[in-house]
């Protein structure tokens, strides 16, 4: 695995990135490399510094310090050249509400100086890609949230980018729309496009990312593939038990020795174990009867909890 990656050219190389707003460090010394064709994720809660990092990659925010190299250039000094090869899907859709759907694509393409004939063709292709063919002439504010998101993603592809930056691409979408979107992103990956995405959804990171960094309070907490991170920082399964709001804490000492590790949250207790059902049996044998119990596979949520002591989505 590592050997294969080393052979590919590094397209993004970040060293000690820092971004300070007043006395708040939004990004506090982040370093990472992304090889060509990789799908790279930044996982962390809201306000962890993921979006700011993305903005620095695009050269649309000035970094306070650190070095950044995108395909050999510094986006702060060669912004237009770098961004000509990027596609960007910002966290909040920023479609041009004053223009109609298809015009949004064409006008955006003109910002890259792309010729009109190409754009006419490409716009239709992308409308099909985003399943918005019948909305070509619609006003942007008449679209549903999911349609706007798909249009934003279609727009980011107008210049056939080599690197696609996706900031929380599926936040606010229903499950079906998310799967459609993931499918589109897989296809782009097959074409060799490098994906960089931020997310606070574990399943999304596990589905889409070859490798990811876990970010919290502007710092990198861990780095690796989703499976490696889970293996390293969690067990195979997790048993969640609830004993009622005021009893959870009191029960914890009595669970001593069950599973590999316990995590007591205000509303529930997590038991890290390789055999969830077995652990539940153990608990019952001690005369304890949880109000609810659930056995699930360990996820990145557990990794995050382990690393920071906090939940990812609060």
């Amino acid at each position: 695995m590592a050997g294969v990656r080393a052979m590919r050219r590094r397209v993004i190389s970040a060293r000690d990135l820092v971004k300070t707003y007043g006395d708040f460090n939004a990004v506090d010394g982040i370093s990472f490399d992304v090889p060509a064709g990789e799908s790279f994720g930044l996982l962390g809660p809201n306000g962890a510094g993921k979006s700011t990092t993305m903005r620095m990659i695009g050269g649309v925010t000035q970094r306070t310090s650190g070095h950044l190299d995108i395909m050999g250039l510094d986006p702060e000094h060669q912004g237009p050249e770098v961004r000509a090869h990027l596609g960007v899907v910002p966290q909040q859709d920023n479609l041009d509400e004053e223009l109609r759907v298809r015009d949004n694509l064409i006008v955006y393409g003109r910002y890259f100086g792309l010729p009109r004939a190409y754009l006419e063709q490409r716009a239709d292709e992308l409308l099909e890609f985003a399943q918005l063919e019948d909305k070509a002439k619609a006003r942007v504010d008449s679209l549903s949230g999911g349609m706007k998101r798909r249009l934003t993603i279609a727009r980011s592809l107008i210049n056939e980018p080599k690197i696609l930056l996706l900031d929380e691409p599926t936040t606010g979408l229903d499950p079906q729309a998310r799967h459609v979107l993931w499918d589109r992103l897989f296809r782009l990956k097959e074409q060799g496009v490098t994906l960089v995405l931020t997310t606070h959804y574990m399943d999304e990171a596990e589905q889409l990312c070859d490798r990811l960094i876990v970010v919290d309070k502007g710092k990198i907490m861990a780095e690796g593939s989703p499976t490696a991170l889970i293996r390293e920082h969690s067990s195979r399964e997790v048993l969640e038990v609830r004993f009622g709001a005021d009893r959870n804490a009191a029960v914890v000492p009595r669970l001593d020795g069950v599973g590999e590790r316990l995590e007591a949250l205000p509303d529930r207790i997590l038991v890290y174990t390789d055999d969830g059902e077995g652990s539940l049996e153990q608990i019952r044998n001690r005369g304890l009867h949880p109000v609810t119990s659930l056995v699930r596979r360990a996820s990145l949520e557990d990794v995050f909890l382990r690393l920071t002591g906090r939940s990812l989505v609060d």
């Binding site: 590919r8 050219r9 397209v11 060509a36 064709g37 695009g58 050269g59 649309v60 925010t61 000035q62 995108i70 395909m71 050999g72 250039l73 702060e76 000094h77 060669q78 912004g79 237009p80 050249e81 770098v82 961004r83 000509a84 090869h85 990027l86 960007v88 910002p90 909040q92 920023n94 479609l95 041009d96 509400e97 004053e98 223009l99 109609r100 015009d103 006008v107 955006y108 003109r110 910002y111 890259f112 100086g113 727009r155 210049n159 056939e160 080599k162 097959e190 074409q191 060799g192 496009v193 490098t194």
Partner: protein
Amino acid sequence: MKALTDDDYVLSADERPLGALYSRNARAVIERGARVIRSQNWIILVSGFFEPVFYLLSMGVGLGRLVGAVDGPGGAPISYAAYIAPALLAVSAMNGAIYDSTWNIFFKMHFGKLYQSMLYTSLGPFDIAVGEIALALFRGFLYALGFTGVMGIMGLITTPWALLLVPTSVMVAFGFASFGMAITSYMKTFQQMDIITFVMLPMFLFSATFYPLSVYPAPIQWIVEAFPLWHGVELMRQISIGAFSPATLVHLAYYLVMIVVGLAFTTRRLRALFLR
């Protein structure tokens, strides 16, 4: 589409001056503006033209009946309407340019999110600044043309020199627009934006638009003379009747310096304005 290989991922630098901020594609920004204007109701585009016309009708015709003739730039008496018309055009050029380069930019930056999407393309902040200023000046040009036409219909134009009101009005607008963006770069909240209004309103009211500067005591006259609008008003007034003096050159020079300094200032502040 052919799959990308490592060789596709190599870029070479472009070492043009302003390369980090400018992609020589301000045209795309102008095109976008033109598309929006075309899809809008035409009345929105032309509405800005009416404000100075209403002022001219109300103050020039209405109040003019009571005021009678006043001394024009050369000393010869002219009608009150002819006295305030060129001044109103200067005020209108200022207002339009300041609105477009401050509130409009501020709003699109913080709420419309338009610039966020533009900046993620190969456009740089300089492209956006040039495009927006060009659009603002074009609109100013249309209004100036219309207003000069109204002056003609009202019989307030007596010399071919008055045709120069149109380009001069665009120059006045350029002076204010070039500064407005730089000033907006320091603004972070709505409350701070109100400061602009606090400066503009007195400039409008005191810059000898409706009555000669001589009504003020000398120290106040000096203050008014330091501000750009007064130079615009005087210049336009001189042009409207073709009565020039050495002061004409001072007024012109004032605006040329203002444009050059304003553009340099705005260019320096582009990062602060757009790349936060």
